[in-house]
């Protein structure tokens, strides 16, 4: 299963010294994201990726151990993003 962004191009993003406010017109909500969350979205906007791929990328970027706990945190945020409508799942062939 892959993850991809959902209407990323419509988001209004302000960078506050590597912290971000993101206005999402689809929901009318404003989100606060830290640097890692924003990196996740940007990465997924460039290409759909699996949980393992996203975790590996972020682990390198933020010099983290790509262990189970780290991957679990990333997964939680992906599901949270999904709930907010910022990302969506895509299956091979879909």
């Amino acid at each position: 299963m892959h993850w991809r962004t959902n209407h990323f191009e419509t988001l209004l993003i302000e960078n506050w010294d590597e912290e971000y406010t993101v206005f999402q017109p689809d929901s009318g909500k404003t989100h606060f994201l830290n640097h890692m969350s924003m990196k996740m979205l940007i990465y997924l906007d460039q290409k759909p990726a699996t949980l393992e791929e996203i975790s590996a990328y972020l682990a390198v970027q933020f010099q983290q151990e790509p262990d189970h706990d780290f991957q679990r945190n990333i997964e939680k945020v992906l599901y949270h993003f999904d709930t907010l409508g910022l990302v969506k799942k895509s299956f091979v062939g879909s």
């Binding site: 909500k29 989100h31 606060f32 830290n34 890692m36 945190n73």
Partner: protein
Amino acid sequence: MTEKRSHLQTETARQSLKASMDNIHKHKRRKLLKGTVAVPVVMTLYSGAALARTSNITGEADSIENAVFKDTINGPQLLCVFPDPMQTQIPGGPYDLGQFPQATLIQEPKIDLTASAETVLTSKMQQLEECHARGGIMISAVAYTSIMSKTGININPTW
């Protein structure tokens, strides 16, 4: 003079130290926020419109003295407001009165304003008990004014 200057220097040093400590605290808070960089963080700020939609939420007045009584020809009657039965209510409040708040006036026992303060208070408390028995709550004058300015309250005295 020397003593005065010494005092001034001490005060200046104290203020400087305080400013320095404030900066350290600010820096620590900032660092704490930034320190979460190893974990992705997402927080959603809810819009004013969303808050406005749920703004008929109120707690019960904290005292009978702050409750709203309507003056009628039969004396003051407690405004008894009903939490919206369609909403999930939290026991003890705050209560969601819904989009169209409903209320009634508690008519018994009658409140005789010529009676002693103690008797008046007792009558008011009895009206409150009656309101609670019907599933209603008393609200403060502030809450009443706020709700009236937004959606109004439908008062049906015969309930």
